[in-house]
Structures are given as C-alpha cells and as structure tokens.
C-alpha cells in the first residue's frame, strides 16, 4: 500500500507520501519531514504536480472544477506549487550532530552500575550535577559494582556543553538549555541496548504513558499536567503493568509498545491521590525544578519484565478534570494526529513513515476526562476487553 511519489527538482529529488485521513489527506514530505493535512482538491493538485502535468493543464482543470476566473486558478496552482517546493527545499536536520573538539576526562567523579534485562551498564558522570540529570529516574535499577559490564556510557562537560559517549564513541553534545534532548538521547541508547534494536528499527518515541494487561497496551497522551503519569500510577496499583512513562518507544517491525523502565514522575499535586496506594511516596526524595516551579517524586514501576513489548490497542487522550466524573468519547483521527505528531519523535525514514501512518490510521482514538478513579479503572478494563 506504499504510495510514494517522486518529483525531480533542479538540484534534488523529493518524495512525498499521501494517505487518506477521514475526508482529507495527510501528505508527508521527505526533505522537511513535515506532515501536511490538505483538503481533497488541494491534494489532487499536488498529485497532478507530481505527475508532471504542466501548470497550464492543472490551471485549466482547476478553473473548470471550481468555476474560477483564469487568473485566480493560475494563482491558486502557483501558490500550491510554491508551497510544495518550499517543503521540498527545507532540509530536515537533527539537533545533536554539532561537531566539537573534546578530551574525555581522566577521572569521572561518579560511577553508577545498573542492571536491566540481564545487561549491566556502567555510567560515568564527570560531576554530581550531571548525575542528577540521569540517576534519579534509574536509581531503582542500580546495582553494586560489577566486573561484567556490557555497556559503558560517559557523560561530561566541555565548553559549556554536555557530551555523551557510548563505548568511547561520541553520540552527541548539547547546550544546557537542551538538557531534555540529552536525556532523550540517553534514554534512546538505553532502549536500543536493552531491546537490542538499532535506531532505524524504531517507528517513533511518544510523549505518553503506557500500560499493559499482558496481551495489549494502551497509550495515554495529553499535555503536561493532564494526568498521564498519575493515571498510569493508579492503574499499576490496580492490576495493570507499567510499560513506560514519558518516553514510549514503538518498533517498526510489529508496531509494538516497548518497555522503558525509568521511574514514574509524580508531581506534588498528585501525591494526595496516590498516597493510599503508594505509602512509599511519603518518604521518597523530592526533586525541585526551580524554573518550572515544579516538585516531583519518583515512583518505581511495577513491571519487572523489562523485555516486555505489547501491541497497542488504542490511543487515549486523557485529562483529569475535577468537574467530570467520567466521560469517554471517540475523537477524530485528524484531532488525534494534530495532538500526537508535534509532541513525538517519528522516524524520518520514508519506509518507517509509511508504517507509522498505517499503524496510526488503524488505531482507535479516545478522549477520556475523569475525576472518578474507580470509574476510570473500570473503563480501561472495558477498552482492553472490547466491552465499551
């Protein structure tokens, strides 16, 4: 079902991928790695441009179809052509490839050993500050010193940038304002090592929480503060397994949600709700984020099988809302796509994009607003059991 279309420009070729979404079309542009959602008529014009029809042929088609004056039809087609060319000429760049000169420190102040999926990791931090960027979310996986390390990561500072090495190889370097990108890359290396998959074998990483029932998984999405992690914690206290919090990897081959075993971030305003299920949170260390005026504690996920990966049953855009006991309704694919894409890393490889779109378009998408925890848990059971 792949429908790539190639078009030649003066200097380079560009491919697009078109998929129907409800009454519109998604058009993915390879060079810019952008997803544009067009009305059907606009998509028809783009297809004609790629089919190498002349502009005047397309203008005529447009004039007759929309009953337009000649000059307006000409302007419309020219504007679409310009837009398509702009997307084709915008080069997609990743942000961690900056070349810098660095010397790896002789001494790392802090060394930590972690055991995940029977794989030992040695992670060396040049300073205590760098350790605080990573360790709190992985502290529950720490083990005592071992001589059987499989992977060695090193993290240090050079000219005001955080440098990340794996087995001595430079993975990337980041400004301090991009700490979240360093943490994302670190998490991705962990995911690749524990699941033994290379970078091009991942479909995407979603800013979501994921739970499983042993057979399938559900992804909870939504803005920060909507209650993704709190809902995940409530569900893992009620018989479900936590697969991942905040960083949810999905593979290309089977489009399954993979376990990411970092701890669950619990914000201060969720503690009261969670204390009855997790008394250990009362004595857990607090981590303060001054700029964001935010305090979190970390909750250990209950999933001990870090090799776990499960098919995704549905996407749920969740919102804890005090004035609503529970309201579940299907949402349009376009509305879901609009919320999903800007918050996710999606593989820019064209074959993977095709798989991503097929996967997404088949997934049911719901909006769930709730304040009644019992009803929420019951509803999640129903979604897993096709019992809505």
């Amino acid at each position: 079902m792949k429908t790539f279309i190639k078009r030649s420009f003066v200097e380079k070729e560009n491919e697009i991928l078109i998929k129907k979404i409800e009454e519109k079309h998604i058009v993915w542009f390879q060079n810019s790695n952008s997803y544009l959602i067009f009305e059907n008529s606009t998509t028809a014009i783009i297809k004609k441009l790629y089919a190498k029809q002349t502009l005047s042929e397309i203008e005529n088609w447009c004039r007759l179809k929309f009953d337009l004056p000649k000059n307006l039809a000409k302007k419309f087609v020219k504007d679409i052509d310009k837009l398509v060319q702009k997307q084709c000429q915008t080069a997609y760049k990743t942000t961690d490839a900056t070349a810098i000169n660095f010397v790896s420190p002789n001494i790392y102040d802090r060394s930590k050993y972690y055991l995940i999926n029977k794989i030992y990791f040695l992670i060396e931090f040049e300073t205590e500050f760098l350790e605080t960027l990573i360790h709190p979310k992985f502290a529950h996986l720490e083990v005592s010193k071992t001589n059987t390390t499989t992977h060695q990561y090193q993290i240090f500072q050079e000219n005001g940038r955080i440098v990340f090495l794996v087995a001595g190889e430079h993975i990337g370097n980041w400004n301090f304002k991009d700490i979240h990108l360093f943490q994302g890359k670190f998490s991705m290396e962990i995911v690749q090592h524990i699941h033994q998959k290379e970078g091009d074998e991942w479909l995407g990483v979603f800013h979501a929480s994921a739970i499983g029932n042993g057979k399938n998984s559900l992804l909870f999405l939504g803005d920060s503060g909507n209650g993704k992690s709190t809902s995940l914690a409530l569900l893992q206290a009620n018989g479900f397994r936590c697969l991942a919090d905040d960083f949810v990897p999905v593979d290309v081959k089977k489009q399954e949600v993979y376990c990411f075993p970092a701890a669950i971030s619990i914000k201060k305003n969720s503690l009261k709700t969670l204390f009855p299920s997790y008394p250990e949170l009362k004595i857990a260390s607090e981590h303060h984020f001054k700029r964001l005026h935010k305090t979190v504690r970390f909750l250990v996920p209950n999933n001990l099988d870090h090799t776990a990966h499960l098919p995704c049953k549905a996407l749920i855009f969740i919102h804890y809302q005090q004035d609503i006991e529970l309201e579940l309704k299907p949402i349009s694919k376009i509305a879901a796509f609009e919320q999903l894409v800007p918050d996710a890393w999606i593989s820019p490889i064209k074959e993977n994009v095709a798989v991503f779109l097929e996967w997404f378009l088949k997934l049911p998408c719901y909006q769930l607003h709730y304040s009644d925890t019992k009803k929420m848990i019951k509803t999640i059971h129903k979604i897993f059991n096709d019992d809505l």
Binding site: S41, L83, L133, H180, G204, V205, F289, L292, E338, I346
Partner: protein, 56 residues
C-alpha cells in the same frame, strides 16, 4: 489563573498549525480548500521538561 494562561498557549499553538496557501479575497470556497495543517514532529527524542535537571 495559571490554567487560563496554559489554555491560551495551546490555542496559539493550534493556530500556528493552521496555514493558508494564499489570499483569495471573496472566493471563500478557495480560501477553505486552501487551508491546511502543518505538523512537524520533534527533531530528536526528548524527555519532557519535567525530567530531572530540566529547569535548573
């Protein structure tokens, strides 16, 4: 108060995703079919801003 600010931010983001191919004056139907959504995924895998250390 904070919630209102957050909602306002979201509306701006949504507005930013909606684009127009061009200005077609009184031809409202053309303006409608020339409206599209532009969505760019993240350029790299990222932790959320609530991850340790972010915001120090």
């Amino acid at each position: 108060m904070k919630k209102k600010e957050k909602n306002a931010t979201k509306k701006i983001t949504r507005k930013n995703a909606i684009k127009k191919i061009g200005d077609y004056g009184k031809y409202a139907a053309l303006t409608a079919i020339g409206t599209y959504l532009l969505l760019n995924p993240q350029k790299a895998q990222a932790a959320s801003p609530g991850a340790p250390g972010v915001g120090f």
